[in-house]
Amino acid sequence: MRKKRGAISPTGSVHWSETMAVEFVRTICPYCGTGCGLILEVRDGIAVATHPDRDHPVAKGHLCIKGWTAHEFVHHTERLTAPLVKRGDGFEKISWNKAIALAVRKLGEVADMYGGSAIGGFSSAKCTNEENYLFQKLIRAGFGTNNVDHCARL
């Protein structure tokens, strides 16, 4: 739906602008491996509601509490958008390069000192399959431990 900008003109014709105000976007729930179909209601470019997808072969219009609220984290103010490092009581934003370097250094120290089994990995359902594969590979092949899990292992 196009949102009308400005009023109706004296002649009665309506002026339109080309911004879409409400549209529906079909997608897949990112939370777990089930992959239920979602239809996101997007208003002015912001996801505001989730509707179950009746046509979806997996969920057939059913969702769980996480699916129903799948739109909430997208624009959540507390969503992490950059790596943070803990300094004292608070967190501080740092660049990806620095963050990766820090993680490599610290994890390497732990692995050197206590062995690979001192490290465990916990992956997220919000990552893609490929990312999850790489993650478990890092833990299994890199650190040499089986301590890896995933939030949607169910």
Binding site: R2, G61, H62, I65, W68
Partner: protein, 285 residues
């Protein structure tokens, strides 16, 4: 799909097209079949787009229409392709001041026998039928699936209810999909009423509060039980109350546009069958 060539669909398309061309409405809310046979709701604003309009599956637009009209500018008028239950829900939302009456137009379609039987719908047709034939409704109380929950031996029914309600995963899908649950925030999210961190949901707190909040507004669309991932027959909670309101007060949610729910009125304004107000009460009048 089989529905595409049906005369009902053609009629709906024609009506929607005329409404758009005559500028009676600025948008038509309906289901659109996109590339790859993907069906999703869409607001048709150009009459050429309407070729992609489809009617199946059953989709309730009432709450969606309310939200769209809230964010749209004043004066925006929306036509909604709606079934009987959807139209009743729209009427209820209009009665509850959620939709301005002059901003919404309904294009009512009557459901077929198969759909009526699947929904156990008493009125599978809107009051204003634009397309389709009015089919006889089904009495849900004749159906064994309903009767086993509502009629008969108490201990068996208790066991049956407990069995289904224990499956609840508290997804709030029943509330989210309901076309007339409009409260924001909802009482069901309040720890005072519904204890948090309890799954299955506290049976009485969650289900009875939800059921009674809809007692006089439920239009029996069945969206709650369609959305329930664990198949709780949630509509059964409403049916007895709906039946009571119909029998005692001749009131059915979504039919009468003017009348307020009888449980909000006093005895003098509202006739009630089977209740004798003692004479001395009238003498106090």
């Amino acid at each position: 799909m089989r529905e595409e060539r049906s005369p009902m669909l053609e009629e709906v398309k024609r009506l929607a097209k005329t409404a758009l061309q005559e500028q009676r409405v600025e948008g038509v809310l309906g289901l659109k079949k996109d590339v790859g046979n993907v069906i999703q709701p869409h607001i048709f604003e150009r009459s050429d787009d309407l070729d992609a309009l489809v009617l199946e599956p059953k989709w309730l637009f009432a709450k969606l229409a309310m939200k769209i009209l809230r964010v749209s500018d004043t004066g925006y008028r929306l036509a909604v392709v709606c079934r009987g239950c959807d139209e009743r829900a729209i009427v209820e939302l209009v009665k509850r001041n959620q939709i301005a009456e002059n901003s919404i137009m309904t294009i009512g379609i009557a459901c077929g026998d198969a759909q009526a039987a699947a929904c156990l719908c008493e009125r599978p047709y809107p009051e204003n039928i634009a397309a389709g034939e009015k089919k006889q409704g089904v009495d849900p109380f004749n159906d064994e699936r309903v009767r086993q929950f509502l009629v008969g031996d108490t201990s068996e029914r208790v066991a049956r209810w407990l069995r289904v309600l224990r499956r609840c995963i508290k997804c709030y899908g029943c509330r989210n999909s309901c076309p007339i649950c409009i409260c924001e925030p909802c009482k069901l999210e309040d720890d005072t009423w519904v204890p948090k961190g309890v799954i299955p949901a506290e049976m009485m707190c969650f289900h009875l509060i939800r059921a009674f909040h809809l007692s006089d507004t439920c239009v029996a669309c069945g969206a709650c039980q369609d959305a329930c991932p664990v198949g709780i027959p949630l509509l059964n909670l409403q049916l007895s109350m709906r039946r009571t309101l119909t029998e005692k007060f001749c009131y059915e949610a979504g039919i009468d546009r003017e009348r307020k729910s009888p449980i909000l009125r006093n005895f003098f304004d509202e006739e009630e069958k089977g209740r004798d107000i003692p004479d001395w009460v009238s003498s106090l009048e």
